[in-house]
C-alpha cells in the first residue's frame, strides 16, 4: 500500500493520532513562536513609520494575518467537515471541531486590533465598516458552530451537525460579505476606509510574511493539541487511554 495512504489510515487510529499530535504540536507552537517573534520584533523596531498613519499602522502586522487566519481557518474547517460528512472519517470530525475555537480566537484578535487601530483613525472604537462588520458576523458563525457542537450529547452527531453548519456558513460567507459591502455603500457612500490602504514599501513586507507564516505554524500546533484533547475525550474509558496513563505513572 502506498506509504502516504497507509499513514492516513494510521492517523485514523486514536492511539496513533494521540502520539502523533503529542509529538508534533510542540513543533508547531515552537516554530510559530520563533517566526512570529521575529515578525513582531521587525514590525515594531525595524520597519520605518508610515508616512500617513505614523506608528499606528504597525497594528497592521497583527490585524492582517489574524484576519487572514480567521477566514482561512473557517474554510479549512468546512473542508474537514465536508470530508467528515461525505466519507464519515472520525478524525476529520475532530479536526473540524478543533479548528473552530482557534478561528474564533483569530477573529477576536482581528476585531479588537481593527477597533484599536480605528480609534485614532475614526475617533470611535467601532465603525460599521464592511470589513469589521463581516468579521463580527464571522465571529457569530464560529460561536454558533461551537455552541451547536457543545449542545448535542452524542459527539459524532454533534460534530456532523456543527460541520454541516460550517459548510452552510462557508457557502454563505461570500454572500454575507457582499451584502455588507453593498449595504455600506448604500448607507455611507463610497468612502473607502484607510485600513491598510497606504502603499507598501519593500522593507515593510518581510515582517508581514513572517506573521502570516508564523500564525499558520502556530495554528498547526494548536489544531493538533485541541484535536488530541477531543480525541482523548471521545476515547476516554478505552484501554489505550488507561495504558497511556499507567505508562506515565
Amino acid at each position: 500500500m502506498n506509504p502516504v495512504v497507509r499513514w492516513f489510515h494510521q492517523l485514523g487510529s486514536p492511539p496513533y493520532f494521540d502520539r502523533f499530535a503529542a509529538r508534533w504540536a510542540p513543533w508547531g507552537y515552537g516554530l510559530g513562536t520563533l517566526v512570529m517573534a521575529y515578525g513582531i520584533w521587525a514590525a515594531l523596531f525595524q520597519v520605518p513609520a508610515d508616512y500617513q498613519q505614523g506608528d499606528s499602522f504597525r497594528i497592521l502586522y497583527i490585524h492582517v494575518p489574524s484576519a487572514w487566519m480567521s477566514l482561512f481557518v473557517f474554510g479549512l474547517m468546512a473542508v474537514y467537515a465536508a470530508i467528515a460528512l461525505i466519507w464519515r472519517i472520525k478524525l476529520c470530525e475532530i479536526l473540524a471541531m478543533a479548528c473552530a475555537p482557534i478561528g474564533a480566537a483569530f477573529t477576536v484578535i482581528t476585531l479588537a486590533t481593527g477597533s484599536i487601530w480605528g480609534k485614532p483613525m475614526w475617533g470611535t472604537w467601532w465603525d460599521w465598516d464592511p470589513r469589521l462588520t463581516s468579521e463580527l458576523i464571522l465571529l457569530f458563525l464560529y460561536l454558533g458552530i461551537m455552541g451547536l457542537y457543545n449542545a448535542i450529547d452524542d459527539r459524532r452527531a454533534a460534530a456532523r451537525a456543527a460541520g454541516l453548519l460550517a459548510i452552510v456558513g462557508v457557502v454563505l460567507l461570500p454572500v454575507i460579505r457582499y451584502s455588507v459591502v453593498w449595504w455600506n455603500s448604500l448607507h455611507q457612500g463610497q468612502t473607502i476606509r484607510l485600513l491598510g490602504e497606504s502603499s507598501i514599501d519593500g522593507s515593510m513586507v518581510p515582517p508581514l510574511v513572517a506573521m502570516l507564516v508564523g500564525t499558520k505554524l502556530w495554528f498547526i500546533g494548536s489544531l493538533l493539541m485541541r484535536a488530541r484533547a477531543d480525541n482523548l475525550h471521545r476515547e476516554s474509558g478505552k484501554g489505550w487511554v488507561t495504558a497511556l496513563v499507567e505508562v506515565k505513572r
Binding site: D55, A105, I116, W117, M225, H233
Partner: protein, 57 residues
Amino acid sequence: MTYQTYVIAAYMVFVVVLLWDFVAPRIRINQLLRAARLRIARGASSHSNAMPDIPHQ
C-alpha cells in the same frame, strides 16, 4: 493616548489571546488524563465508557 499606547494595546491583545489558545487545550488534556488516572485508582473496568463531561475551551 499616543499612537504607542494603541500599538502596545493591539500587540498585547494578540499575545493574550494566543496565550489562552496555548493554555486551554493543555488544561483540558491534563483534566482528561487525571480523570483516567482516578478511574484506574478506583479500579474501574477499562471498558466503562462513563465519562464526566468536562467542558472544554
